[in-house]
Amino acid sequence: MKTWEYIVRRLVLLIPVIIGVTIITFVVSHVIPADPARAFAGGPKAQPETIARIRAELHLDKPIWEQYFYYLNDLIHFNLGKSYLEDRPVTDALAQYFPATFELTIFAMLIAVPLGIAGGIISAIRQNKLSDHLTRIIAIVGYSLPIFWLALMLQYVFAYIFPIFPLEGRLSVGMAPPGPITGFFVIDSLFTGDGTALASSLHHLILPSFTLGFATLAIILRMTRSSMLEVMGTDYIRTARAKGLTERKVIYRHGLRNALIPTLTVTGLSFGGLLSGAVLTETIFNWPGMGRFAADSVLGLDFNSVMGFTLLVAVIYVVANLIVDLLYALVDPRVKLGGG
């Protein structure tokens, strides 16, 4: 199977995935006995006309299957509906929050992946040496530290005791966002040639992206280490050494390349997980991203926002897995796409 055929086939499979996700999310969010219309209209202060209008808009007076039909009809027309908590279309909200979270996740991965892989290699090739113990301690700490505690401690130490980094936010106090072009402040400030905004946005990214990436770093480190240890003990590594290859070539050309397959899987899944689950980091660092948006929407039963967020995350997971599968083939030529 050619690569493009494989990609198309995987993307077509997105359709049943999306339908499945919408059915599950729709049913789960709608069967809870609640009065979201009154909550959106102002709670006890809500005017009866406003409540009635929101109920009609959300078709809450119709059976659930009919409500789902209306939702699906809107979805086919690329209409995700209105976020009642934010009083604007869900697409507008996602267009603002997704780039913020994506930017944070990219920087988290930029910290986690190289450091994790490098740490894993060092740990494996220097097994039971001091550097191995050190990297293993880092991995254990990364695994076991609650993310909110790490975030609070980093804030406390590096923004309060030693005010090296900003406490929160994406830009300095009162600074207008660059653009808007892509919503990625780093890219937008480069496009607009705004050096101040670029420096500020990079400065603001360090603490939250380290927080978000630290646990992933630990996972990648452990995975790379165990995988490297396994690969370095195989016959073909001994053969490579017997051929007289330098240790560097043995490790990077023969060892690492084969050991990277499980690391790639973990990285892909972590990327999807970070995009959808950065709620704690975003809340503590006051990062206006999708995690906070999703949490607020779930608590406020903002159906359209919950559905919109879930759909986006489902697509992200499918695409991330697709990219990982494509990378498998790139890293290991023995892997055939589509099993052919």
């Binding site: 929160e168 106090v173 009162g174 608590l299």
Partner: protein
């Protein structure tokens, strides 16, 4: 083997050193800074860290407090409040006003030479346009137009000349002047609105939501949803910029309390919302003050007089329960002392508060009295269950609070314990806000709930009518099912009269009835509590006009 042991020992040593560093760092924050005052951060910018964010900046739609506070600062109204004074209404875009003997016709003379922040001139046409716009738009998203439509329609406002406008009310209304000071009565620029979507019946103007233009002291710089809203000085402001005023206002939406606390302590924030349970974290910190004042936010307990078990249908049961509620525990334990007793519907600071037994609460915690009332009413401890005698055939009283509200949780548990002492079985439950509202408005499966109420405008009609007015007069906002025809009459008498004596007598008469047949437990009035830096000057709390940035500046005095 030996090398491995040495490696493990080294690793253990490093781990101990790392732990020691972390502990030292943790304790380092306990050291108080001494000596000179810290440098004022962002000296011309006021930064507030708060929770929640505006839904809209359009006065015809704004109803939630985060939206209204921005409208208050971007737009002006005909009249306004100053400082922390809630009793006196001052001129703003109107220089003076009068009411005719019929109590229906109000004439306002307008300030001349005022311009909107885009340079357009302000005159009486803008006033008529603004009031009519609210009524026509009839905001489908917020429903806030009800505040004006209580006493106005599209024929009410007349332009007499470019600087005189007259309102002919559809009925007399005692709170008319107070509601013209509320955000919904803000004056918009007719030309600007017409050029940007105009006025469409029953439709909110999506452009004005995020693009406000007013005559107020500040104008919008940018608004990043769920992050911050930034206002800058309006250079054409009619009040002028002589004296001390902040140039920029930044209000950040920060959900995490620890972030707000650190921001306040390191000086990033000048002002921050700090929950009661976190006040201990900022107390005695260098440069940080705790500001407290009585607010108009009240805390209530609701009886469902039409619940399926019919227990709360009897007023004597509700009276007994009013005695069984430990008010002082609510103040001390649930609210950490940040609550004032509330004698009736009208909060302290609002006109006609004194009509409620001169502000002295009728009910105080008294289990003996509660027990006597129940016994005299025939609700005896006559049901034996597991060695204890219970009232109401051991039917559990269902007490609810909304999840995440720690104060209400504590009050609910305390109430449960006190009811148990009376031989009353009860269950305390919690659920999310939308589910809570579903229960309140669409179910009879609850007996007691906690709820709060915040002001729309500074008139007792905004409290007494929704609290104890019946659904027949647009009251019973909490769906307690309680109704009393005489109370309704007195409420309407107070509402549709501008004579203070008549209003006072009406509210006193209503109080004497509803307090002896209580549909609510009047628990208290929240203390407005915020953390602030000592360099912030000019701040005063007004429950009607919560933030007025024009008065603020940063300096040590």
């Amino acid at each position: 083997m030996e090398k491995s042991k040495i490696g493990n020992l080294k690793a253990g040593g490093i781990a101990i050193i790392l732990c020691a560093i972390m502990i030292l760092v943790s304790f380092s924050g306990c050291v108080q800074q001494q000596g000179t005052k810290p440098t004022i951060k962002n000296p011309t910018t006021y930064v507030r860290y708060d929770i929640g964010e505006p839904k809209t900046l359009d006065p015809a739609e704004a109803y939630d407090s985060a939206s209204c506070e921005n409208v208050f600062n971007i737009y002006d109204r005909l009249v306004s409040y100053k400082g922390n004074d809630t009793k006196t209404i001052h001129p703003s875009l109107a220089t003076d006003w009068s009411v005719a003997d019929d109590q229906l016709t109000w004439t306002f003379h307008l300030r001349q030479g005022v311009t909107f922040s885009n340079g357009d001139a302000f005159d009486a046409n803008d006033v008529k346009y603004s009031f009519d716009r609210v009524l026509i738009v009839n905001s489908p998203d917020s429903g806030v137009s009800w505040i004006l439509s209580q006493c106005m329609d599209l024929n009410s406002t007349t332009v007499i000349d470019p600087y005189t406008v007259q309102f002919k009310l559809t009925n007399t209304y005692g709170g008319f002047l107070a509601l013209t000071a509320f955000s919904v009565a803000s004056i918009v620029d007719q030309e600007y609105v017409e050029a940007n979507g105009g006025v469409v019946a029953d439709t909110d103007n999506t452009y004005l939501k995020e693009n406000p233009i007013g005559t107020g002291p500040y104008m919008l710089d940018h608004w990043t949803h769920n992050s911050e809203i930034v206002l800058k000085q309006n250079p054409t402001y009619w009040g002028g910029w002589a004296g001390n005023h902040v140039e920029t206002v930044v209000v950040k939406s920060a959900d995490e309390a620890s972030t707000r606390i650190l921001a306040l302590e390191n000086g990033d924030a000048d002002f921050a919302y700090i929950p009661y349970e976190n006040l201990v974290d900022i107390r005695n910190k260098t440069g940080v003050l705790i500001f407290q004042a009585p607010s108009y936010d009240v805390v209530l307990g609701l009886f469902d007089t039409v619940s399926d078990n019919t227990i709360m249908a009897d007023k004597n049961v509700r009276k007994a329960f009013s005695y069984a509620f430990d008010y002082q525990s609510a103040i001390d334990d649930a609210y950490s002392g940040n609550l004032y007793r509330l004698p009736g519907c009208i909060p302290k600071g609002m006109p006609y508060y004194e009509t409620q037994n001169n502000g002295v609460p009728v009910y105080n915690f008294n289990l003996q009295q509660a027990s006597e009332i129940l016994n005299q009413s025939g609700y005896l401890r006559d049901y034996l269950f597991k060695g204890n005698y219970y009232r109401f055939n051991n039917t559990p009283i269902r007490i609810w609070y909304n999840s995440g509200n720690a104060e209400r949780q504590k009050m609910a548990l305390s109430f449960q314990q006190n009811l148990a002492k009376l031989g009353i079985n009860s269950v305390v439950s919690t659920e999310g806000w939308p589910q809570y509202l579903q229960r309140m408005y669409h179910s009879v499966e609850w007996d007691f709930m906690f709820l709060g109420w915040m002001p729309d405008y500074n008139d007792p009609d905004d409290y007494i009518a929704p609290f104890v007015g019946s659904s027949a007069i647009g009251g019973d906002t909490f769906n307690t099912g309680w109704a009393n025809a005489t109370v309704d009459q007195e409420i309407l008498k107070g509402k549709y009269n501008v004579d203070p004596t008549v209003r006072s007598n009406a509210y006193a008469a209503a109080f004497n009835i509803y307090i002896n047949d209580p549909s609510l437990i009047y628990i208290g009035q929240n203390t407005y509590t915020r953390g602030m830096r000592d360099w912030l000057q000019g701040y005063s709390y007004n429950p009607v006009l919560e933030y007025y940035y024009y008065d603020y500046y940063k300096a040590y005095v």
